[in-house]
Amino acid sequence: MEGNIAELGQYIGAGLAAIGSGAAAVGVGNVAGNFLSGALRNPSAAAGQTATLFIGIAFAEALGIFAFLVALLLMFAV
C-alpha cells in the first residue's frame, strides 16, 4: 500500500477529534434535560430562563464545534 504515516495519523486524528462532537452532544443534552426537569417543577419560572438555556447550550456546544474544527483542519488543511 502506498500512502504515508502522516496521512494515516491525519485521518486517525480527525476521527478522534470527531468524538468531541459526541461529547458536546452529551453536554447539550444534559443542559436541555436539566432545564426541562427544572421547568416541569416550576413552569412559571421557565419562560424567563430560556435565554439562559440557550446561552448554556451555546457554551456547551462551542467546545464541540472546536473539536469539529480540529477534525476539519486535520482532514483538509494540514
Binding site: 435565554a51 440557550f54 451555546a58 456546544e61 462551542a62 464545534i65 474544527l69 482532514m75 483538509f76
Partner: protein, 250 residues
C-alpha cells in the same frame, strides 16, 4: 488527497465545493473588489431583509397583514432580548444587534436554498462579525466604566487566594469569546451543509438512494432549526457581552 480516495470508490463527494468563492463574471483571480457569489448572496440577503422590514411594513397598518406581523415579531423578539438580557440602557445599540440578527438569520436561511452560497459559513465573515462585536463591546466597556471594567476579571466574590487564578481564566475566556463566537456560527453552518452534501452524494447509489434522500430531508429540517437557533445564539451572546460591558460588576 481526499479527492483521490473518493475517486477510487466511484463516489464523488465534494462537500466543500459549495463554499468556494467564485467570481460572478468570468473566472479571473478574486481581488478584494471583485463581485463574487459572496456579493450576490449578500445582496440577496439585504434585498430579502428590506423586503420584509421595509416593504412589508409599508402599510403601517394597525391590524397587520402577514408580512408585517412577521416583521413585528422579529422586531419584538430582538427588542425584548436586548432589554431582558442586556438591560434598558443597551437599547441604544438595538439597531446594530437587529442588523446582526437579521443578517445572520437571512444568510443562514437563504444558504439552505439549493445551489445557494452560505455567506455565514465562512470564517472570514463570521470572524468580522464577532470581532466587530468584541471590539465594540470592549470599547464600550472601557468608555462607560473606565478601569472599573477590569473588575470583570477580578472576581471579588471568590476567596482572595483564588482570585489571580480566576483572573487568568477570566482573561483567557474573554479573549476566546470572539473565536468561539465566530467559529460556532461558521462551524454549524459548514457542518450542516457538508452533511447534507455528503448524504446527497450517497444518493448516486441506487440501493441506498431512498435512505439518503430521507436523510437529506431530515437533516434539512434540522438545519432550518439550527439556522435560526444559531442566529438567536449569536445575538443573545452579543447581548450577554454587551451586558458585561455595561454592568461589569458580577
Amino acid at each position: 488527497m481526499a479527492t483521490e480516495a473518493e475517486e477510487a470508490t466511484g463516489l464523488s463527494f465534494h462537500p466543500m465545493e459549495q463554499f468556494l468563492v467564485k467570481p460572478l463574471f468570468g473566472d479571473g483571480p478574486v481581488h478584494w473588489y471583485t463581485p463574487t457569489n459572496v456579493t450576490l448572496w449578500m445582496f440577496i440577503t439585504v434585498a430579502a431583509i428590506v423586503a420584509l422590514l421595509v416593504m412589508g411594513t409599508r402599510g403601517r397598518a394597525i391590524v397587520p397583514n402577514r408580512v408585517q406581523s412577521v416583521a413585528e415579531l422579529a422586531y419584538g423578539m430582538v427588542h425584548k432580548m436586548v432589554e431582558d438580557v442586556a438591560g434598558k440602557d443597551a437599547l441604544k445599540y438595538f439597531p446594530y444587534i437587529m442588523t446582526l440578527f437579521m443578517f445572520i438569520t437571512f444568510s443562514n436561511m437563504l444558504g439552505l436554498l439549493p445551489k445557494s452560497f452560505t455567506t455565514t459559513s465562512h470564517i472570514a465573515v463570521t470572524g468580522v462579525l464577532a470581532l466587530a462585536v468584541f471590539i465594540s463591546v470592549t470599547v464600550i466597556g472601557f468608555v462607560k466604566n473606565g478601569t472599573h471594567f477590569l473588575g470583570l476579571f477580578w472576581v471579588t466574590s471568590a476567596p482572595l487566594a483564588l482570585r489571580p487564578i480566576l483572573a487568568v481564566i477570566e482573561v483567557i475566556s474573554y479573549f476566546v469569546r470572539p473565536v468561539s463566537h465566530s467559529i460556532r456560527l461558521a462551524g454549524n453552518m459548514m457542518a450542516g451543509h457538508a452533511v447534507i452534501k455528503v448524504f446527497a452524494g450517497f444518493a448516486a447509489i441506487a440501493a441506498i438512494s431512498p435512505l439518503s434522500i430521507l436523510a437529506v430531508t431530515a437533516v434539512y429540517g434540522l438545519e432550518v432549526l439550527v439556522s435560526f437557533i444559531q442566529a438567536y445564539v449569536f445575538t443573545i451572546l452579543t447581548c450577554v457581552y454587551l451586558k458585561d460591558a455595561l454592568h461589569p460588576a458580577h
